[in-house]
């Protein structure tokens, strides 16, 4: 199986340069204690040449590994009066680091198993899970993302070309109360939905400012399951949970 073509997609597999090196060593089925630098380096170059697109982070890690390997090689090439002691041998240092790292990897897959077991057991202190702010995979989005979403939406509304007759004043405080009331009644507020319901640009704008105030006061939190997914606003519940 040619793994080199698909690891661009599977970035999750790698955590860092050590991970990458470990992977290459494993793929070659080489004993970790005997890292053939030339082979591994050749492997990198082959992979690099195959690629049409470049992922900068990944390539930076490649470079770090390559540099490390070249450093080791150069150390080995230098003539020395006395052979190096074990703990100064750059290969040994690398091997030790890799072994340490390998243990961490093993431990983390073990923790994953434990986590999966535990997630099946519901405990009272973890209830209600959905309302907890640290729903683990969510991304807390920045105010800029929120602002951008808002303006995209407003542009869209503008294109609909609906004319409204003015006459209503919106107060920030009222809007904040409205948002909170909505959140008390519903689990969460869908950002786009909520603002599309606004009658006018003024209303949406005041609501948006209210929302920003609430986020700033850490009363609510805006989360997203992943990028390009709908933004959802939740009440922060931590205090309430621990007080119960």
């Amino acid at each position: 199986m040619d793994a080199s073509t698909d690891y661009q997609v599977k970035l999750e597999v790698f955590q860092g340069p050590l991970d990458l090196l470990l992977f290459l060593i494993r793929k070659k089925k080489i004993d970790i204690h005997d890292i053939p630098i030339a082979t591994v380096t050749r492997e990198y170059l082959k992979y690099l040449n195959q690629k049409e697109r470049i992922n900068l982070d990944r390539e930076a890690e490649f470079l770090l590994i390559a540099a490390l390997l070249i450093y080791i090689k150069s150390q080995m090439l230098l003539p020395r009066e006395k052979p190096l002691e074990d703990e100064k041998d750059p290969r040994q240092i690398l091997v030790n680091r890799l072994l340490d790292y390998q243990r961490i990897k093993a431990a983390s897959s073990l923790l994953r198993e434990k986590e999966e077991e535990e997630l099946l057991k519901w405990k009272r202190s973890f209830l209600p899970h959905l309302l907890q702010e640290d729903a683990m995979d969510y991304i807390e989005i920045s105010l800029f993302d929120l602002g951008e979403s808002f303006f995209v939406l407003m542009k869209k509304k503008e294109r609909e070309g609906i004319k409204t007759i003015k006459g209503k004043e919106y107060s920030l405080e009222e809007k904040m109360k409205e948002i909170l009331a909505f959140l008390e009644a519903n689990e969460f507020l869908d950002f786009l939905d909520y603002f599309s319901q606004a009658e006018s640009f003024e209303e949406a704008l005041v609501s948006f400012l209210g929302l920003l105030e609430l986020i700033k006061a850490r009363i609510v939190i805006a989360l997203q399951e992943s990028h390009f997914q709908p933004i959802k606003v939740w009440l922060r519940r931590k205090e309430r949970l621990t007080n119960n």
């Binding site: 340069p17 680091r97 790292y101 961490i104 093993a106 994953r112 997630l119 899970h129």
Partner: protein, 188 residues
């Protein structure tokens, strides 16, 4: 009398949101002998193992805690309208194991072990209260030192940190699993 003690302990565990430690139980039930309490706990746990109940009492985070049985997970999710529970990212897990096995540890040491900067992962772990700051290291720059928290234990269903396999055992696992793991990674 003994039955009553069993019931009392059960109610104490039920009402406690955090794992209830043996010490705590003993400190509350001063009118009972320590051996009586221990015996009653044992019997109480037995009734849950043998009984046809949806809940159980588990040892977790150094104490006793009620939890649902794993096989009812899908129904509970339906009730709570949850499709899946969030899991930790693999970066977070790796950082946690680095801390668990090398604690007390500084951020720089974690990053060195993993080969990548771990500051943002560490920050999330702190927010989730899976790790805690325990002080500063007396070395240049006085960096903060970290340990895994009590919540770490409960989260992974461990009773004490000693429940984790020792580094020697890990090496053994690695030796045994070397070949299947290779395939694992290649397939991913």
């Amino acid at each position: 009398m003994e039955n009553r003690l069993k019931e009392i302990i059960e109610s104490l565990i039920f009402i406690s949101l955090e794992p209830l430690t043996l010490e705590k139980i003993k400190s509350v039930l001063t009118e009972f002998k320590q051996e009586e309490i221990e015996q009653a706990i044992k019997e109480l746990l037995d009734t849950y193992v043998s009984n046809e109940r949806g809940i159980q009492i588990i040892h977790s985070g150094g104490g006793l805690l009620f939890s649902t049985k794993p096989e009812h997970d899908s129904f509970i999710k339906r009730l709570l309208k949850i499709e899946r529970k969030g899991k930790l990212s693999s970066a977070a897990l790796e950082t946690l194991s680095a801390i668990a096995y090398h604690q007390p540890i500084t951020l720089a040491e974690i990053s060195a072990l993993r080969g990548v900067d771990s500051s943002s992962t560490l920050k999330t772990l702190l927010q989730k209260r899976l790790v805690k700051i325990v002080g500063r290291k007396k070395s240049p720059g006085n960096p903060l030192i970290y340990r895994t928290s009590e919540k770490f234990l409960t989260y992974f269903g461990l009773n004490t940190i000693k429940d984790l396999p020792s580094p020697e055992e890990l090496s053994k696992i690695l030796d045994e699993e070397d070949i299947p793991e290779e395939e694992d990674i290649a397939e991913q």
